[in-house]
């Protein structure tokens, strides 16, 4: 048996250590890019989840656009009276002026679903803050003299010709609802029998970054409360609108009690205030022609049975205006055509270190200088057709 009790010589130790460090350095050299890939991939997973959450929130609200608001089969839904999708911001805070088109902003109008239903005004309703009483319609809770309406709900009061105003219920002293008018006060007075619809408005837009806050997809409910964030690091939202190629047309004369009288949109008034209800009068959608069937004012953009067509910003901002060109809350009648929207969302990496110079890959510049540290923005495009906007199609 041979035993060797000597230790390592200094030369052996130095050589072995050097070899060990060289091998270790080579190993780490292989692992380092992997660490970069790991960072970018985990960030990309996070980006996918953010864009999924943003899309989910948008899709949930957009798909409900135009829901409810039915008074009868003759006036089947809210979307038959007023536009359900708006390319602008509506509400108390920072509302856009009439006729605005902002591709990065969308407001969704929805009637509050059952058990809330449409009731009608029991007394004339001026477009200003004050008291409001409603009739008890079928579907109203039997023990409620206010049709179940409670404080903090938003109400849309609409006449039969496309005019509407929005109010917030600030107090209830049954049977009177005390409401605050939202929007510019006008001399408009809604007649007895005007529809009173509990509604929900939601505006989506991207908030630009400020110190301490990244770019965000935010939502606004039309009241006094500020915008609330939905998803961080959403750098852009773009909305394209698609609509009916055929203008609103009258299906039957106003003297026919069965309705609905139009293919879509509010019907015209009777020509002479009710004495001759078989003659259609002038409205934002129909021109008077002395017959029972008014002439459409909007352009024919394609075949009635053809596919939906893109609605360019100019089309949605050039009039004719409903309910009339002087109304402070007027809207372009072509908004009633909208049936579908295409959403384009873009999210960025949350870490500056994973974003490169601004350009094709990055909407906002970061500090990454090598491609293996890049987590490029993700863009997603989807088309949503709210069911309640195509029920009659």
């Amino acid at each position: 048996m041979v035993t060797d009790t000597r230790g390592f010589s200094i030369v052996e130790f130095v050589v072995a250590s050097t070899l060990f460090l060289v091998v270790l350095a080579l190993g780490f050299g292989q692992v380092d890019p992997t660490e970069g890939v790991f960072s970018t991939q985990s960030e990309r997973v996070d980006m996918q989840q953010r864009i999924r959450a943003a899309l989910d929130a948008l899709e949930r609200d957009v798909s409900g656009a135009g829901l409810g608001g039915s008074l009868s089969t003759a006036r089947p839904s809210l979307a038959a009276w007023v536009p359900a999708l708006w390319p602008m911001r509506l509400g108390l805070r920072g509302a856009d002026p009439p006729g605005t088109f902002r591709p990065e902003v969308m407001t969704i109008l929805t009637a509050t679903p059952l058990p809330w239903v449409v009731s009608t005004a029991m007394t004339p309703v001026p477009a200003q803050s004050g008291g409001l009483r409603v009739t008890t319609e079928p579907g109203c809770p039997p023990l409620s003299s206010t049709c179940g309406l409670v404080t903090d709900m938003d109400l849309l009061v609409a006449d039969a010709e496309g005019g509407f105003d929005v109010f917030a219920i600030v107090d209830v002293t049954a049977p009177t609802l005390w409401v605050r008018h939202i929007g510019p006060t006008s001399s408009k007075v809604y007649p007895v029998g005007s529809a009173v619809v509990p509604i929900r408005r939601r505006t989506y837009a991207v908030r630009q970054p400020v110190a301490g806050r990244p770019p965000q997809l935010a939502k606004y409910d039309g009241g006094r409360a500020p915008d609330s964030p939905v998803v961080d690091h959403v750098v852009s939202l773009a909305v394209d609108y698609f609509g009916e190629p055929d203008p609103p047309r009258m299906r039957r004369p106003l003297s026919d009690p069965s309705g609905p009288w139009t293919t879509y949109g509010p019907p015209p008034p009777v020509a002479d205030g009710g004495v001759m209800p078989h003659i259609s009068g002038e409205s934002c959608l129909f021109a008077e022609n002395g017959t029972a069937i008014g002439t459409p004012k909007l352009a024919t953009l394609g075949s009635a049975s053809g596919p939906l067509i893109p609605l360019r910003p100019a089309r949605l901002t050039d009039g004719p205006w409903c309910p009339d060109p002087a109304a402070p809350n007027r809207y372009d009648a072509d908004l009633l055509r909208i049936r579908s929207v295409q959403l384009t969302l873009r999210v960025e990496a949350a870490l500056d270190a994973l974003r490169g110079p601004a350009g094709l890959l990055f909407a906002r510049a970061g500090t990454a200088r090598t491609a293996d540290r890049y987590a490029p923005d993700i863009e997603l495009r989807t088309r949503i057709t709210p069911r309640n906007l195509v029920l009659g199609r």
Partner: protein
């Protein structure tokens, strides 16, 4: 016996260190990726179930259109041809999940899993404020999606479509459809539910009206119920 070279263990140490690093990085990547796969699967299932519920709703519309009147539907004596047995009991969804038809009917009718008494059903609560006019939900169409799609390759989804009277009727009898010229004549509510694996589910509610003197049906509203 010869004692081994004391330097021979160094390679093993280096290899183990590198292997450990790579294993940890791989495990972390797999963990993140699998979490994302599960989230994506949940998202995909939500979409599939919504489309499946809509398919069930439209299947129910086809059979409703064929019926001469809807009181028999509301009273439970007429049902769709898309059924897989009696309108009660437990069904198994592929993947081991269950659907209890009676529980779903009770949840819709009075918000609890036990069968609803008349007092439960007519109680005035926020979700059902119409008292005696609260809908009495009944199964109308139900069965596995593959039976509807006509292919065994369809997703493992079970469909259940409930019908109830339009709550805007004020006749106090949710088993009877109002007669013309009542405002609720020929109008009913449908609740279509789709059940997937692991307890996933989606619901759609819609109001349906008979139009053209019974020649057709028309959706008056459509609401995704989550």
């Amino acid at each position: 016996m010869t004692r081994g070279n004391p330097e021979r263990g160094m390679a093993l140490v280096v290899v183990l260190a590198l292997a450990g690093l790579l294993t940890a990085a791989t495990a972390a990547v797999i963990s993140i990726a699998s979490t994302d796969v599960r989230i994506a699967a949940g998202f995909r299932w939500a979409r599939q179930l919504e489309h499946a519920a809509e398919a069930g709703l439209h299947r129910a519309l086809v059979d409703l259109k064929a019926l001469p009147e809807w009181t028999t539907v509301l009273s439970g004596t007429s049902r769709s041809r898309f059924v897989d047995g009696s309108p009660s009991g437990v069904r198994t969804v592929a993947g081991g999940a269950f659907v209890d038809v009676d529980v779903e009917v009770a949840l819709a009718g009075c918000g609890r899993v036990a069968p609803c008494s008349d007092a439960d059903r007519t109680a005035i609560v926020q979700a059902r404020p119409w008292g005696p006019n609260n809908p009495r939900w009944r199964p109308f169409a139900y069965g596995p999606l593959h039976a509807l799609a006509g292919t065994a390759g369809a997703a493992p989804v079970y469909l259940l479509v409930l019908v109830g009277d339009d709550p805007r009727e004020i006749d106090g009898n949710p088993d009877v459809d109002e007669t013309p010229p009542g405002s609720g004549a020929g109008i009913i509510r449908l609740r279509a539910l789709a059940f997937g694996p692991a307890g996933s589910r989606r619901a759609i509610e819609a109001t349906v009206a008979r139009v053209g003197g019974g020649a057709g049906v028309r959706l008056l509203d459509w609401q995704s119920g989550g």
